[in-house]
Symmetry: C2
Subunit: 491 residues, 2 copies
């Protein structure tokens, strides 16, 4: 663990660049985001500071989904085993991850049928869809729910990043034609860019996943990888083209305009809000602590009095006056604890409060207010009568400034490779490798396994946006390349 110098006890003591893992653990604890002491493996408590931001993220996402014509619903969180078993690939993929409710009551009486705690809701929902969808008039049929899901996760868990219970939104849509389903996948990707990049300031790029890495039961999976810096990526929302793979076993049919019954084409989309929150704090944070987009901060502005003997009253009054003026517009905290201003600065920087207002006796004399922005440390001296305007300006620009600073240039992280050795070196140097590949169909799985084994990295798939590169041969097997893929380490 690399210790930083001169950090107060309340602050972060580890450098993010030197030891991400220790830094992340410290920020989780010290900013009071989650508590890992809950005594069930893989389950953590989300504390208020995280919960407030997560709720705001939900709200933003839900508003966008509503706007795009989705309606919300609430499904039971248990799925009867008989439903769960209907789509074979889906079962194969998810069965190892299911928690089963199998007993109830004080005697632990065995239930007549085991109930899966939903790992995802296709098999719960689509049976209902078969009741609700009757004719082409009912299509497109777009629904979502905000809920938690449970997965008996084998991999190492880390608060927000990966756990056995996480909080997401799942949207499930039905269409008359494959073309409309494909259009929905595109809309999902656009929504993801809008939310992740514009609102949460996390740079992403969409890949069409190889067949061996798609959602169980899907025709195709398109997943956003967050660029976490130093070549490591984190899978964030993914959207899936399900074709008729589920509509057939679940009997999701509609009567078309010509009177014929047809199976729907389906898509589903699953932004894991708690995971996106983890990515956001991990990606935006620095060695002082959290950095948060303005809208998501539980407290947006903190007012800190600089007390000098004999002038306490005048300073406290000015703070109260400012607080009163701002409290109906922003989420403001007046920190009037008996503590040095320095400690307060550290605490609220650690918590990621976007703007600090300092009020001292000399500033009052000059009729000015000192402000400091968290994300760039920029200090400003604002005329008292211009404070409203300044804050309005900050509230509008803060997130955008943050975004500009943090949106990585994807191209600069890529290294184009023609040989395994150079690819290996690139991965070791924290780059994302771009190379030719034989195929992203199952037949190429062996080449992908070799990459995992030799490079310690994973095939992320084909870029969904415009591909600039072309290769003659597969990096691994040397056969003619059918596609260009990207390889990266992942969280």
């Amino acid at each position: 663990m690399v210790k930083k110098n001169k950090t107060p006890i309340t602050g972060i003591t580890v450098s993010k660049d030197e030891d991400f893992s220790a830094w992340y653990t410290e920020i989780i604890n010290k900013a009071e985001l989650a508590d890992i002491r809950y005594n069930v493996k893989g389950f953590v408590v989300y504390r208020p500071w995280a919960t407030i931001s997560i709720k705001k993220m939900y709200q933003k996402y839900e508003e966008l989904l509503d706007k795009k014509g989705h309606l919300p619903l609430i499904m039971p969180s248990v799925i009867p085993e008989s439903n769960f078993m209907l789509e074979a690939d889906h079962v194969k993929g998810f069965a190892p991850e299911v928690f089963w409710v199998s007993e109830a009551g004080s005697e632990g009486e065995r239930l007549s049928e085991r109930l899966a705690l939903r790992p995802t809701s296709e098999t719960a929902l689509y049976k209902m869809y078969s009741y609700w969808i009757r004719s082409y008039n009912d299509l497109p049929f777009k629904r979502y729910q905000s809920c938690q899901v449970w997965r008996y996760e084998g991999k190492m868990t880390r608060p927000f990043f990966r756990g056995r219970e996480f909080h997401w939104i799942e949207a499930h849509n039905c269409f008359a034609t494959e073309e409309e389903a494909i259009e929905q996948v595109k809309e999902d990707m656009e929504m993801t860019y809008k939310m992740l990049q514009d609102e949460f300031c996390i740079p992403i790029i969409f890949f069409e996943r190889p067949q061996w890495d798609k959602f169980s039961g899907a025709v195709n999976t398109y997943a956003a990888d967050a660029l976490m810096g130093s070549g490591k990526v984190l899978q964030l929302p993914s959207t899936h083209l399900l074709g008729q793979n589920f509509s057939k076993p679940f009997n999701v049919k509609f009567t078309d305009k010509d009177g014929e019954e047809r199976f729907c084409y389906q898509t589903c989309y699953g932004p894991a809000i708690s995971r996106i929150y983890g990515a956001m704090i991990a990606y935006l944070g620095d060695d002082k602590g959290l950095i948060l987009p303005f809208d998501l901060a539980p407290i947006q502005i903190v007012i800190i009095p600089i007390l000098i003997k004999g002038k306490e009253e005048i300073v406290m009054n000015k703070c109260r006056e400012i607080y009163k003026k701002l409290k109906d517009i922003y989420r403001v905290k007046f920190d009037d604890l008996e503590e040095s201003p320095g400690s307060k600065y550290y605490r609220w920087e650690l918590k990621g409060v976007p703007l600090r207002i300092e009020v001292g006796p000399r500033d009052i004399e000059k009729k000015q207010i000192v402000t400091v922005k968290r994300h760039d440390g920029e200090k400003a001296f604002i005329k008292e009568n211009e404070l409203d305007k300044y804050l309005e300006d900050v509230s509008k620009k803060y997130t955008n400034e943050l975004k500009k600073k943090t949106l990585l240039d994807f191209e600069s992280q890529i290294e184009v490779c023609y040989e395994q050795d150079s690819a290996k070196e690139a991965i070791e140097n924290g780059k994302i490798v771009c190379c030719g590949f034989c195929s992203i169909d199952m037949e190429a799985y062996q080449c992908a396994e070799k990459i995992e084994k030799d490079l310690g990295a994973f095939v992320r798939g084909k870029r969904v946006d415009h591909e600039k590169h072309e290769f003659a041969t597969c990096l691994i097997c040397g056969k003619p390349a059918t596609c260009t893929i990207y390889i990266a380490k992942s969280y």
Copy 2:
């Protein structure tokens, strides 16, 4: 089943007064609020029309809790058996209702410890509280979470009213003194009145529950009974004084100002939003369908064109114009389907849309707009240039009008009884009985059992607000009365 005359197929065919149960089932189906066809007993799907209102109810409740100094958090939904067993009375009360997660993975591997799907979160939270609360500075400590809970319910389930999974908010608070805990209970009751009566238009009254009917593990339970009309009550939010019953086994201590360690005094409060929603639609609805408070309606205003041959274009254009003007202020629907205006009236009345706007060619000529309010059927002819003002007025007053109409006079429903025979008759006549009682402590349980057996009704407890009546003897055993109680049938 009593059939009403002349009801269109889309409308409700049963009278609420004549057959509440059948009426409720119809409204659930026809207004598309819930679907009971989900194939697990006691679990239902909440459809969009209900989900949207429920989300708005959550939002209002959360805002109020935030304002009262509570902070939100998110707990795991499973509780390890060892936590769950720590408070004896609590276990005794809840163990029969617990669903157990006991297996995981495709082979159904047995978990090392069974996990309870939370029936309520005391035993999950308070272990965490023992980590978080250190000194008197941390108190009062007020937290809540919005979540679902699961109960292996033996009683008959009914969508929203009672199910094996329901959606609530639970607030859990810690204080240094018993007095502060009692103050919190009072605050909870005030919040309940504000939400239930002012926002959701459901008349309630608070009772101190008898000891045999309190929350398992509590010192005292104060529960709101909704007055559903005809003497039948429905238990809605309850708040519980826990004393130190949980803080001792869970070790929730603080260091007081004098340096001494003391156990906290605790309270908890649990408004079941999905149940309140059920109560609201049941209580406010009429034989035409739903009636909803203005803020909670998924659609607040519906615009319906009255088409007359040759004038279609002019009417449709006017509708579009109005829609465009209103859509950023209200949740508005322009119903432009090819269907008779009458069918549309029925459908949106059934759905409880608060205001209907009718636009016909003659109204356009007169530069007027016809509006009809759902809750009282009041028709108004509004000058086109006064529409904005009129709608603003309706949006402000609608819920209040509804509340005034629906808040029952509690006193008028009560019958004061001195003898068992008259009490029996009063209950049969749909009254709430007020009488003398020996005690609400456990020792009086036999008298309560006799009431249940002979009257088919339940002791609701002592009124929390001012009690006007005094009795010399217990209605049942004839011993000297120590209190005045209320007896009612309940849902």
